[in-house]
């Protein structure tokens, strides 16, 4: 579904990704783990076209999107839950969701809104509350719900566990599992390696702009190198 072929990305003159190849197949959960500064967010931003890859190709559903505008990529069936949630804090929960379905018709919005409320009954309770006044976990739910409003084929999550309590992280990961059951492909970028690999069908380990390891989630969890570097031994 999503293919990156030998992607190089630069920030000015500095190369942040040195030829990364990643594939996410339809219906999978794929996790990308790596330390701070490994280039995880850069890789995601390259998929979104901001910054664009300097060489290599990015394909989504068989179509090349390497040089597409960000706004066009984001309307083509990919949804992203940005790092740090970034909900519209002054807008109500409902308005946030409506922003997610900005390019859909009214009836489609109503349908996906109900669907999001089924997934997150908590959001329904908070429908008319300003998003900024909710807890971190609720905001993360809202961010995921907002991404789902556009009825994406694939959802990209950037550090969904960032700054959340362990219990809330568990809930969030349960929900991500649920998304797979609905047929949504999930590309998960995490520092929380244990949970991310546990859930994933396959995983990639990114180190200083290169893919170091690539295996199934189970194998990576058992891999001694990974255990040493990312799972605290």
């Amino acid at each position: 579904m999503l293919v990156l072929e030998d992607v190089h990305t630069h920030y000015g003159k500095i190369e942040a990704l040195h030829g990364v190849s990643v594939e996410v197949k339809k219906g999978e959960i794929v996790s990308l783990i790596g330390a701070n500064g490994a280039g995880k967010t850069t890789l995601l931003m390259t998929v979104c076209g901001n910054p664009q890859a300097t060489s290599g190709r990015v394909l989504f559903q068989g179509r090349e999107i390497t040089r597409d505008l960000t706004s066009n990529i984001m309307r083509s069936g990919i949804a992203i839950v940005p790092e740090g949630r970034r909900v519209f804090s002054g807008l109500t929960v409902e308005e946030n969701l409506h922003m997610g379905g900005f390019f859909n018709t009214k009836s489609e919005i109503r349908k996906s809104q109900e669907h999001v409320y089924e997934l997150f009954p908590r959001l329904k309770e908070r429908e008319h509350q300003r998003a900024g006044t909710m807890s971190g976990g609720e905001q993360q739910m809202l961010a995921i719900g907002r991404a789902l409003m556009s009825k994406p084929n694939m959802i990209i999550l950037d550090e969904p566990s960032l700054g959340l309590a362990p219990l809330v992280i568990k809930q969030i990961f349960e929900i991500i599992g649920k998304l797979r059951e609905e047929g949504i492909t999930v590309f998960l970028v995490e520092q929380n390696a244990h949970q991310a690999l546990n859930l994933a069908d396959r995983g990639y380990v990114l180190e200083t702009g290169r893919i170091r390891l690539h295996d199934t989630g189970k194998n990576l969890l058992a891999n001694p190198d990974v255990q040493n570097a990312y799972l605290g031994g």
């Binding site: 706004s71 066009n72 984001m74 309307r75 940005p82 804090s89 807008l91 109500t92 922003m99 900005f102």
Partner: protein, 423 residues
């Protein structure tokens, strides 16, 4: 604590002294060919001294003074009250609006000519403030050169009427459209900027337009301005004593009434009223449409808005263009009302005043902005006796507002549709 207070109070008193005494305490008088510096009369010196003592006392007892002020209930009567029920509030607001419009319609027939003229100016400012409210209040783009679009609207009409004899009604859409085009053109270079940088660039743009108008003497008449801008006509009826243009008739002759200069003033007022109402309704509709929500989303979080597939370019440009459009509207009316315009009418101070109206009224709130426009335009007129201190009073009012109601007169409320409640 007390020692700290004393130190602070002494410092404030000293500052007051060194600021006010050199300005008020000395006088330059010319004696023959030389200019001599003299101390002024004792009354002023005593006044300066009194001010210093007042500042000292206020700063020294500030904590207790502010404490007792805060206990006064009248300052912020809404503080402890529950927000009104949504439906009730909406009903009240619509009743209020209807009353305002009815009042505005009756106004010219009961008030004096000067008052009607002032009311027209208020309406022009309402249009300007509502337009800027889109850019600053909703889209969150700080625009300090808004007056440029106002100038474009005014000069479009003035030039078109001077060179091509085009009437008000044709110039109105052209002026607004041209202002919108300038908004679009300005929008492109500032797309990547935000916050302070955006403010500086827009400030520069405002000045560029004014200086251009000032220096393109052959076209705009430079600092001399353009005069003889025609008044609007009502279906080909002119409001002057004599008909100027061929084919037109005069208003007082058509209706068989005596000529009166007031007709023209009232007619202009009514045009401004209609246009202001159109502006308010149009922007209200836009706010509720997806584009309005996109503005707010971009203001709240640019990255999130982009992640949802919104194009930053389109959203920002639309805000700039629509804001500029209504400034062009206001400019055309202004040119027609004054009959004479010069670059002096479009200085930075105008931008600052319009921005002050938006901030005082409460960013994004239409009702608030309208009330603030009325207050800011009328207050200086009421205080004409102290005309020297007008800006001082204006500044003091701003400071007081920001201390007591930083969110503005009527902060924006989220419009939302109440769904049937499920128990």
């Amino acid at each position: 604590m007390a020692a700290h207070n004393l130190k602070h109070a002494l410092f404030c008193a000293f500052i007051t002294l060194i600021i006010s005494y050199p300005i008020l305490g000395f006088d330059l008088t010319s004696r023959g060919t030389t200019v001599v510096l003299e101390g002024v009369n004792t009354t002023t010196s005593i006044g300066v001294l009194a001010a210093v003592i007042i500042v000292f006392l206020f700063q020294y007892f500030r904590d207790s003074v502010m404490g007792s002020l805060r206990q006064l209930p009248a300052i912020n009567p809404l503080a402890n009250r529950e927000p009104m029920e949504q439906s009730k509030r909406l009903k009240l607001e619509s009743i209020l609006l209807t009353l305002m419009i009815i009042g505005a319609l009756i106004w010219p027939f009961i008030a004096s000519r000067g008052a009607v003229d002032l009311a027209t100016l208020v309406l022009i400012y309402i249009m300007l403030a509502l337009g800027l409210n889109v850019v600053v209040g909703l889209a969150g783009l700080l625009d300090l050169g808004y007056v440029a679009f106002y100038a474009v609207g005014a000069y479009t009409f003035a030039l078109l009427s001077q060179y091509y004899g085009i009437s008000f009604w044709f110039a109105l859409p052209i002026g607004a459209g041209l202002a919108a085009l300038f908004g679009l053109v300005l929008g492109f270079p500032v797309l990547r900027l935000r916050g302070d940088y955006l403010a500086i660039v827009t400030l520069g743009f405002g000045e560029i337009i004014r200086i251009l108008l000032n220096n393109m003497t052959s076209l705009t008449g430079g600092p001399n301005g353009i005069g003889g801008i025609p008044d609007p006509t009502l279906f080909g009826m002119e409001f002057g004593r004599r008909v100027k243009e061929e084919g037109n008739t005069s208003f007082h002759e058509t209706f068989g009434i005596a000529y009166s200069g007031e007709h023209k003033v009232i007619f202009l007022y009514l045009i401004a009223l209609v246009l202001a109402v159109i502006t308010a309704i149009a922007i209200r509709r836009l706010m509720r449409m997806p584009v309005g929500r996109a503005w707010e989303a971009l203001r709240e979080d640019e990255i999130a808005a982009k992640s949802l597939g919104l194009s930053r370019t389109a959203v920002k440009l639309s805000a700039f263009t629509i804001g500029a459009f209504f400034a062009g509207f206001a400019g055309t009316v202004f040119a027609s009302k004054q009959g004479f315009i010069s670059p002096e009418s479009f200085v930075f101070l105008e931008s600052a005043i319009i921005l002050a109206i938006v901030v005082l009224g409460g960013m994004g709130s239409q009702m608030g902005v309208i009330l603030a426009a009325i207050a800011v335009t009328i207050l200086p007129e009421l205080a004409r006796e102290f005309s020297e201190y007008r800006m001082l009073i204006f500044g003091a009012a701003m400071v007081l507002m920001m201390v007591w109601r930083p969110q503005g007169l009527m902060p924006m409320r989220r419009i939302h549709i109440e769904l049937k409640r499920q128990e």
